[in-house]
């Protein structure tokens, strides 16, 4: 390993160094607003460096792979980190978040996401995943006065630790079966004579449990609503977007293996996708708490991504990555709206709190409407283009039934997304709303997300080209 190897890692190093500096500065002279702004500028610098980086595909110390693919995700996660800090601006100040620790932890988790996305070996995979998880164990309970935080933190920690155990065991078994930790060789090594070796089957099962937990696939999704509900809104936003997206980013290069000898487990994964979709959609339909609704909605969206992932090929990979980008922005934006609407007394809870929002905070109402439309996959938003690609990849792969299942799930999901939109536009005649009033320009991060959602929805070509370019360098 030489100094030149670090060239591809510069954005991560900026995040890492910045986070450490802020953490240390917090010990001496904590200043919330200044630290948040510093954190945002560090993240944006990392994002800018990653965007303009021209590093060639190259292995670094045998566990990470630099190159356009890694650069793309480093830029995305840094941007998400900056946006998360942006939506925490007022939220964290009102709740007296410890500035140094908060900003540093958010940046550290972005480092973890970047590591995970560029993992080229199971060691890097585990390292990145654990770096994300450890940060989120703390971030979930960062608002110590919140009555729901301890339950959420405890659930996440216990279940997460068990999942990590499964994952570590799975990785160990993979190593035992194949003698390598390199990806994707480790995965293809488990196939002998067109069949998965017995040890490999156990290894994959263990691996799937660990990954399924992080992605909240059925039946490992039970933690999602409780943790989402208890964690501070900006943290939930990052948890729902980045931490899941990074796992997918690491999984996409493994997808090629499914077409080969691992085809045996495809029916199982298909069933998982359908069950995940059904669980997410049907449970979201009956929720009355906005964060639980978004939690189940995120479960269902993981089902869509799994459909695209199973479709495989360049189309499937493109669909997964495009969906991840749009979904991350939209989810972070919606939690940003929740953060903006939070008062020092608490966050928005019941859906009925949103009634009449359009006439009190038109800006936030418009942003929320755009996000919900995008989640529902209504045209002119990024979500529609994303769903279009997912259905297209499924049809192209011959999985027409999966596409039809996706269509049915979309239809049911209209029930809860549009119900919320209608509430936002219905005039409020009864009691005053407990939500904070937010006048324009509201929150820059939320505005950025909503504009981006529309722009990608109307002119998706540049992003599509970009995604195609990083997949076939």
């Amino acid at each position: 390993m030489t100094w030149t190897d670090f060239a591809g890692l510069v954005p991560v190093l900026i995040l890492l160094g910045g986070a450490i500096l802020i953490l240390m500065a917090g010990a001496y002279r904590p200043h919330y607003r200044l630290f948040i702004l510093a954190g945002i500028s560090i993240a944006l610098t990392a994002c800018g460096v990653a965007v303009f980086s021209t590093s060639a595909v190259k292995e670094v110390s045998g566990i990470f792979r630099c190159g356009p693919y890694a650069d793309f995700f480093m830029a995305l996660w840094s941007l998400l980190g900056a946006l998360t800090l942006g939506i925490s601006f007022r939220y964290g100040e009102e709740r007296k978040f410890a500035p140094g620790e908060y900003v540093a932890l958010v940046l550290f988790s972005c480092v973890g996401m970047s590591f995970l996305s560029m993992a080229s070996s199971l060691v890097g995979f585990f390292l990145g995943l654990e770096m994300i998880s450890l940060n989120f164990y703390i971030l979930t309970v960062f608002h110590r006065q919140s009555p729901e935080a301890p339950e959420a933190g405890m659930k996440y920690l216990l279940l997460g630790a068990v999942a990590t155990g499964f994952l570590a065991f799975g990785i160990a078994l993979i190593f035992a079966a194949t003698g390598t930790l390199k990806l994707p060789e480790a995965m293809s090594g488990m196939v002998a004579g067109g069949q998965i070796v017995p040890l490999g089957l156990l290894a994959i099962a263990m691996f799937l449990v660990g990954v399924g937990f992080k992605l909240s696939l059925f039946p490992f999704h039970f933690w999602t609503p409780d943790v989402y509900q208890g964690a501070p809104a900006p943290v939930t936003g990052l948890l729902a977007s980045g931490s899941k997206g990074a796992v997918w980013a690491a999984m996409v290069p493994l997808g090629a293996g499914l077409a080969g000898g691992l085809a045996e487990i495809v029916p199982l994964l298909k069933a998982l996708a359908l069950l995940t979709l059904a669980t997410g959609v049907l449970c979201a339909l009956v929720q009355d708490n906005i964060k639980r609704l978004l939690a189940f909605s995120s479960v269902s969206h993981m089902g869509y991504v799994l459909i695209a992932f199973l479709s495989g090929g360049l189309t499937g990979e493109r669909a997964v990555i495009f969906y991840l980008v749009t979904y991350s922005i939209v989810v972070l934006g919606s939690f940003g709206v929740l953060a903006c609407l939070s008062t020092p007394l608490g966050e928005p809870r019941a859906l009925s709190d949103f009634k009449g929002l359009a006439y009190r905070s038109p800006f936030l109402a418009a942003a929320l409407t755009i996000f919900l439309f995008s989640l529902a996959g209504i045209p002119l938003t990024a979500g529609f283009i994303g769903k279009f690609h997912i259905f297209y990849s499924a049809v192209r792969a011959g999985h027409t039934w999966m596409a039809i299942a996706g269509v049915i799930a979309s239809l049911i999901s209209m029930g809860y997304y549009l119900r919320l939109v209608f509430l936002v536009f219905q005039p409020r005649t009864d009691s005053p709303s407990p939500l904070a009033v937010c006048q324009p320009p509201g929150n820059i991060a939320v505005a950025f997300c909503s504009v981006l959602t529309l722009v990608i929805g109307i002119f998706p070509a540049p992003l599509l080209k970009f995604v195609a370019a990083i997949l076939s360098p």
Binding site: F373, P379, V395, M414, G415, P427, F459
Partner: protein, 500 residues
């Protein structure tokens, strides 16, 4: 096509309402300004649409526009105007102006939002009637739903939410299936030719096996049949029509229903001609069932809005019948009838809005004996009613007679079955007229005759009814060359079918 192609006139038809909607949002402090802005921009669209009225060339197109859009997908921003879309664009532009005028006084709160949504709806409708790229069409198709449902939820009657959800569930369910059909066509065409495109003209050349074509056709058919609606997909309709503010009901019945018929002809028939030709027998039977069922149900209604809702469905069924008897005369009649139906229904719901403005609801028992009290209003009501039941000399007669003449040429038996439907229309319409205009006024009915604004709404309708009724040639001329019809006929003839 001609020199006007250099000006993006068709894009303007979409852009002007959007600009108007934006201005309305900006000037939300003053309701008066919003109203005038809405009237001005919708009026400008009407003038522009009127100025496009001309005869088509050999290809059938009056105007076309084509811009690059999402090149990675092969989706382009392609708009085209032929005789059928011209009539639909005119109708949309006219009815939006009328909807603005109808809601002039009734909408006093959140005016800016109301009028901007109305204009956004107009932009979506224009997009649906002009798009020649399936991706663009699908986007406009879904987008026009959003302003419509928000308008119903916020300004509709109490308890409109279940009705709206029924509406959404049916329409979006249909359109998502259509999306799958579009994706499949797009994929198959790309595989066959190596060119990935959403252009209607390219996709209709896709070679499809029989069963696959049938599935794709069904996806389109369901989406459009929900919107029209054909029995049994109509169950969303009565509640939605009744709970919506009357200006929106006017648009739902006058224009939104036409998007279904238009889509059926423009996309479903063109893209899957063989499956379409096979389905004609079934489609015409379903259409006739719709005609009779809706007319029968209309007869039993006691609420004017509900009666008109069913009457509208019955007439729309007749138009679909005209499309599905595979005869050119009947097809022309159907296109003309789409326009006529919009005029009549628009006028009917405008009159209903006036009733609602005066007495607060639309139950028939609250009305009666208006002929003596408000002669001018009653005159308009009578003329519109007569037009609706197909009186010669008024608009509906022309379309109906063309459809029937065509039907008798190709399917005499079905034509014979269709004739009594006109009788049924006379039954329920005359019952309505008798209740409203004659009989005894209920106690305490206070009724002022039409004012200046209302006359301004009704007179254009009246002129158009007489114009179409007495000189239909003006509106039939643009239909002489309908783009895509030769292609469709050719495709059907190739497969051994006939379309005389």
């Amino acid at each position: 096509m001609n020199e006007l192609t250099f000006y993006p006139l068709l894009s303007l038809l979409i852009a002007i309402p959007l600009g108007g909607a934006f201005l309305c949002v900006l000037s939300r402090r003053s309701s008066g300004l919003c109203r005038w802005l809405a009237l001005l921009s919708s009026g400008a669209v009407l003038v522009l649409a009127g100025s496009l009225f001309r005869l088509p060339d050999q290809t059938g197109w009056l105007l076309r526009e084509d811009y690059a859009w999402i090149d990675t997908l092969g989706a382009r921003f392609t708009l085209g105007l032929d005789g059928v879309s011209l009539l639909m664009v005119l109708l949309t532009a006219l009815l939006i102006v009328m909807a603005v005028l109808v809601s002039w006084r009734t909408i006093s709160e959140k005016t800016a939002l109301y009028f901007s949504l109305l204009l956004a709806l107009e932009a979506g409708l224009m997009g649906v009637f002009l798009a020649l790229d399936l991706f663009l069409f699908y986007i406009c198709w879904e987008i026009m739903l959003i302003p419509a449902v928000i308008l119903i939820v916020v300004w509709g009657e109490e308890g409109s939410l279940p009705a709206v959800f029924k509406f959404i569930f049916f329409t979006i369910g249909g359109s998502l299936l259509m999306l799958l059909s579009i994706i499949s066509l797009y994929y198959l065409h790309g595989e066959q030719t190596g060119v990935f495109s959403f252009s209607l003209e390219a996709l209709r050349l896709t070679k499809l096996s029989g069963s696959l074509e049938l599935w794709i056709y069904l996806g389109f058919l369901l989406a459009f049949a929900v919107k029209i609606p054909l029995v049994p997909l109509h169950i969303w309709l009565p509640d939605t029509y009744c709970k919506a503010p009357t200006a929106i009901t006017l648009l739902l019945s006058g224009v939104l229903a036409k998007t279904g018929i238009y889509g059926l002809y423009r996309f479903a028939f063109q893209l899957c001609p063989e499956a379409a030709a096979k389905s004609f027998a079934w489609l015409s039977i379903v259409a006739l069932v719709t005609v009779f069922y809706a007319a029968w149900t209309a007869f039993g209604q006691s609420d004017i809005k509900r009666l008109l809702a069913y009457s509208s469905v019955s007439h729309l069924g007749f138009i679909v019948f005209g499309l599905s008897v595979s005869n050119r005369t009947a097809m022309e009649g159907s296109f003309l009838q789409m326009f006529s139906h919009g005029i009549t229904m628009g006028a009917f719901f405008a009159l209903t809005a006036m009733i609602e403005e005066r007495i607060g609801d639309t139950r028939m028992e609250r009305l009666g004996g208006l002929w003596g009290r408000a002669p001018l209003w009653s005159f308009f009501f009578l003329v519109v009613a007569l037009s609706s039941l197909g009186l010669p000399g008024l608009n509906n007669f022309v379309g109906e007679i063309l459809i029937l003449a065509g039907a008798f040429q190709s399917l005499p038996w079905l034509g014979a079955v269709a004739v009594p439907s006109i009788l049924l229309a006379a039954l329920y319409i005359l019952r309505l007229v008798r209740h409203v205009l004659w009989g005894v006024s209920p106690a305490g009915l206070i009724w002022t005759d039409v004012g200046r604004r209302e006359i301004f709404i009704l007179v254009p309708f009246l002129i158009l009814m007489v114009w179409v009724g007495c000189w239909p040639q003006t509106f039939l001329d643009p239909l002489q060359q309908v783009a895509g019809l030769p292609f469709f006929e050719g495709a059907v003839a190739l497969k051994g079918g006939v379309l005389p």
